[in-house]
Amino acid sequence: MLTARYIANDKLLPWLLSLTETRQVLAPVQVGGQTLFAPLDADSRLDLKGLADASAKAALLPRCETLFEFHYSKSEGVPSRTELELRETLPDQETFLFGARPCDAKGFTVFDRVYDAGTRRDIYYCSRRDKTLVAVLACTDPADTCFCNRVGGGPGETDGADILFTPVKGGFVVEAVTERGDAFLLEQPLVEAEDRTEEARKVREAVSDAMPDEAPLVGIQSKVLELFDDKGFWEGITSKCLSCGACSYLCPTCYCFNMTDEIKGDDGVRIRTWDNCMSFQFTLEGSGHNPRDGKAQRMRNRIGHKFSYYPELHDGNLACVGCGRCIVHCPVSMDVRAIVDQARDRALAKEEHVND
């Protein structure tokens, strides 16, 4: 049996601040009118009301990450030669990520399958993942745009997390879900949860039951793929898209990156920064040719990756966790759910037509 504890509302912030003495605590705080995951300190305004505006992905996959630093110098012996010095920069910050939502944490499992895949381990990602304890906060107030339940998740799920916080009367029930989470909780000065775990379970169930009951968006990879060459379909659904990429940057599962060397004088850094498939440069080849040179092809890639190619490679798991951020923050209010629904219906209609 894993550890279950209780923390009262007024004890939460002091407890989180006490954790900052030994590690970084990332939590949803108000920054300039937005709710973003940022390092917690005594001045932070914690905001646990709903889903944060940006996802927690930067905790494991920073917007800009230095892979190594380098320095050029003239060779002492042979002046015509240039020496290159490299410095490794592995992340080593212990982190407690608090207040991620179940969809945020499930997003990390999407990364795990790519960046921590047997012999192909990305050391930067993996060392961050190893040093980060993920505490999710069960949702009690899903938004209109939330659809975790349609993509294999739920407002009280714990995939990708180590600890689960559930709001109950007067505070939170804090339950370990992994061994790591358990070891951490055992060391914390929190009171026993006692029969409150039952109350917490009921809270989660009630929220989950109240989610609108719409068709699941899993298991349709072949349907989406069938539309690959259906130019009319992709052009139709993307006519209003601006191809800006805000959707991908806010998405807790988009993990594509760009790599560049940024050099000033003799010193430079090789960095990797977020990239996204809605941008023209994403597949721009050195020759100048771009196989995805229009917004329709780019959207096909985004939807195809999330609902077809990724699940095809990863046992049916989608690369969408249903957080709805791409919907809320899209400047022209594109709705990923509607696109996938339409894709499935279109493919089904085509099949029927063939069988007629």
Binding site: D53, P331, V332
Partner: protein, 320 residues
């Protein structure tokens, strides 16, 4: 507004047979945001929505559709973008049919969502006088305009689409805002230069470099060839430094100087809520002082930076 929407629908129905498409708005996935609707089929006309949630400036699509016969629905500020595009010869007047409307103000979905607590259950939005009225799950709620409208509406220079082919509804004034929040520009003007730099560095730490501000700007026509992402020349580097990000905003502001109509799309599109239109407003004020020019007002005028005069009226170079 209830009657204007019917008039709008009939006007579009009449014009559609001669057009390749008409761009309007329809109900969006979030109850506080409507979304663009591309109408090619008469049946879609029924889905048109028209109320203060119609935020998007549909003029931005026109340059990409050049060569087609396109109808577009426009509020006062949207129509100014169309005028600017005409002035710059980026679209052709004879190909564009403008359905002009009188606008009572456009809600800022982000701030309104926060002011209402959530957008769940919002069914109806209307603005009358200095108040925004909402029906939320059958219940009436009101908010002062200062807590609801987009920044641009507080400085709106005309809520009617002045240049149009069909004007629908009645002409009227911009929103009558009782208490308007201090604009970022006013706040900045009260600061020292150093404080201003700190302000922007602080804001820019939040920028995620998505460039939605650029993609949403109807006047950003370079788009896929943007200086921000160019490696050669290397105007901005890819690091997360706020100054690099501010450098891009400076480029955007300079590229839109004297062209920007303050349609607010850059700021509305920014998922991080950065007050970036302020930079353009500041430049526009200078353009107005120097050239007596306001972008997007007169289709027959040329933007000042598109013209060369040996001596500008307000720049007395030879007298120095």
């Amino acid at each position: 507004m209830a009657s204007s929407i019917d008039d709008l629908k009939s006007a579009i129905k009449e014009a559609l047979p001669d057009l390749d498409m008409v761009i309007a708005w329809t109900a969006g996935p979030d109850p506080l945001s409507h979304t663009p609707l591309f109408i090619t089929d008469e049946a879609d006309i029924e889905r048109i929505a028209w109320d203060p949630r119609c935020s998007q400036n549909l003029a931005g699509y026109l340059t990409g559709l050049r060569g087609k016969k396109v109808g577009v629905v426009a509020k006062g500020c949207d129509a100014r973008s169309i005028v600017e595009l005409l002035q710059e010869k980026l679209i052709d007047r004879e190909d564009v049919t403008i359905f002009g409307l009188h606008c009572t103000g456009a809600v800022d979905a982000r701030t309104t969502r926060k002011a209402l607590g959530s957008s769940r259950g919002v069914e109806d939005v209307a603005i009358d006088g200095a108040t925004a009225r909402f029906t939320v799950a059958g219940e009436a709620k009101t908010l002062p305009l200062g807590e609801t409208l987009q920044q641009k509406c507080f400085t709106c220079t005309g809520a009617d689409a002045e240049v149009c082919d069909h004007f629908i509804g009645e002409h009227g004034l911009p929103p009558q805002v009782g208490e308007r929040p201090a604009s970022t520009l006013e706040e900045l003007e009260a600061m020292s230069m150093e404080e201003r730099l700190h302000f922007w560095e602080d804001q820019m730490t939040r920028c995620i470099r998505c460039y939605a501000c650029r993609s949403a700007c109807p006047l950003c026509v370079c788009q896929d060839h943007c200086a921000a992402q160019s490696r050669e020349p290397h105007w901005v580097d890819q690091t997360d430094h706020p100054r690099e990000k501010l450098m891009f905003q400076a480029i955007h502001a300079l590229h839109t100087a004297g062209r920007c109509t303050e349609c607010g799309e850059c700021e509305r599109a920014c998922p991080m809520g950065l007050p970036i239109m302020t930079l353009k407003q500041a430049l526009n004020r200078s353009i107005q002082d120097l050239f007596d020019y306001r972008a997007g007002t007169d289709p027959d005028q040329a933007p000042p930076l598109f013209e060369f005069r040996e001596e500008e009226k307000n720049i007395k170079e030879r007298e120095w």
